[in-house]
Symmetry: C2
Subunit: 335 residues, 2 copies
């Protein structure tokens, strides 16, 4: 039984652990400042497949396979896998799950999906349904640009606030055993401050992250100083200062402990990525490649991972709508 | 704590109940054989909004609002709502959840979404996270046809195996109290027998339903005779006999108890709907408008609701892929 701390906020009661994890990234991500941390760097953007969409599925399969290998868990022992991605109808996940043949809960939380998947996988482990559960998500620069912005061959100019969708995937296995505990979490609410620029997702998502982080801190009676890091997924260089500002207005100063996967994964000046990385695979691969290993080694003890998703639809934006955003949070602790 | 019966199959242990529910449908659905069962029939396909997509969000809001009103639960008392729909980026749900301001888990299971949402909402109630949870989903003929098939104004011919996407929404509130128990459920796996005809979804989905129903019966040691009905979401007139055939080959005869929401919601001969209804809103509205009231009144005692989803993407079909399908199941009992 989980303990309900407040609306949408819980602490786990049964042991819920991250047993193993893996991150796979593309060539550009491999050349960035975190390049060394990924389990594999795949230089072929097609990953040997015919289409980028198939390649994205293969990134997921590779991440899941590496995570399973590390813990010696077979895919037949996974009770449920929570997966999602950015593609229409979440086909990155549907086709990877077809190969795995594992009971599958499909999620759509845009770039918040890794946190949403970890939340659900953890709660299903807590409630007894799963002995082993898993969460995986992915993004691919070429599939996302084509779907959300311009065909790559068009060579469109990128605006200063634009972010670069990461080609990457992260996967984690949740179980009763492991050395990193899932302590609790917070389910996000939609925040929408009427941003409608598809190239300024950081600004659209910052209010959602602020709402979720504030709710978790309030419900648990903790403050930023209680955590080594409060990690967001892909707010980038514009969204990150907005988040700290929004929380500061509520008397919460996260500036010393805030880290953003999108701001960390590239060197914007050298890599021409403007405001940084984005995409489901950005937060997932940096969590599983960088932060979870630091927790495992005892270099970190307590982190909050609050991935943010811009639930933007090219069509609804053409219809005059703004971008609804959401952020789900998970609290991880080294035992 | 839920009891794990087999991989992806569980029985609840704590009381998990459907407290209230509601169904809202469009004009054509209201003119069908089940027209009397819906809480509201909305004759304006725009539901007073500027776009059909906004109308679909309003269908969801209306269904949730009616379900909450029936049980006297305020939206502020809902700990989490599980929602999804067929639209790219699930915008039907994102924009309705923006209005509700409730902690929100976004799902993508295509037409299986109502069962997926009920599963997750039930397990989060079982595990203690939620005192009140909700599940909602929707579909809209005009948004779905535009996205998946042809612009309506094109006036394309429909094939004999085509189904008619329902304009409808269903919502249910899950809690510790109520007169219908969520007894257990089964999380689906992807099934893909290489159907690639976007106008023959019933055939694509039947193997997924067969797999899920077989797994639940085997894990619980029950047989079709133990249930008043085994209800599928939208297999329609082509998919339904395929399901009974597939199960019969495994020695399971559901022919006496099988009902399909898609085959029930329209009179195909009078309403020109070929193989019947489809869409997330089809199964959800027939469950919440027809089957749950029968359970509530004691006219039924045990049913399985196995909604099926064709996770089809127009793009991946153009790329030569087939349609992956999934079916999630929930077991409901009158107390």
């Amino acid at each position: 039984m989980a303990e309900r701390m407040a609306r949408g906020v819980f602490r786990t009661e049964a042991p819920v652990k991250i047993k193993s994890f893996a991150a796979v990234a593309g060539e550009k991500e491999g050349q960035g400042p975190l390049g060394e941390c990924f389990d594999e760097v795949i230089s072929d953007s097609h990953f040997g497949m015919d289409t980028w969409e198939q390649a994205e599925s293969r990134f997921q399969l590779e991440a899941v396979s590496l995570a399973l290998n590390k813990s010696g868990v077979h895919k037949e022992d996974i009770d449920v896998i929570c997966a999602g991605d950015l593609l229409n109808q979440c086909i990155g996940s549907a086709y990877s799950m077809r190969e795995l043949e594992v009971p599958f809960l499909g999620l759509y939380g845009a770039c918040s999906t890794m946190a949403e998947g970890l939340l659900i996988a953890s709660l299903l482990t807590d409630c007894g349904l799963a002995q082993n559960a898993a969460a995986v998500t992915s993004s691919h620069f070429s599939t996302a640009e084509r779907q959300f912005r311009f065909p790559l061959s068009y060579g469109g100019q990128r605006t200063p606030t634009a972010q670069w969708t990461c080609t990457a995937s992260g996967a984690a296995v949740i179980s009763r055993e492991g050395c990193i505990s899932v302590v609790g979490g917070c389910i996000g609410r939609i925040a929408d401050l009427k941003i409608s620029d598809i190239n300024n997702m950081g600004s659209a998502m910052a209010p959602a992250a602020a709402d979720t982080i504030q709710r978790y801190l309030a419900a648990t009676g903790t403050s930023p100083a209680d955590y080594d890091f409060i990690v967001t997924g892909d707010l980038g260089r514009v969204g990150s200062p907005l988040l700290t500002d929004l929380l500061l207005k509520q008397g919460i100063d996260i500036s010393a402990v805030h880290r953003d996967c999108g701001a960390m994964i590239f060197s914007p000046e050298q890599q021409d990525t403007n405001c940084g990385g984005s995409g489901c695979g950005c937060g997932a691969s940096v969590l599983c490649g960088h932060f979870l290993p630091m927790l495992e080694k005892g270099e970190l003890h307590d982190i909050l991972f609050a991935a943010t998703g811009a639930l933007m639809s090219p069509m609804s934006l053409q219809q005059g709508e703004s971008i609804p955003a959401i952020s789900h949070l998970i609290h991880l602790r080294k035992d």
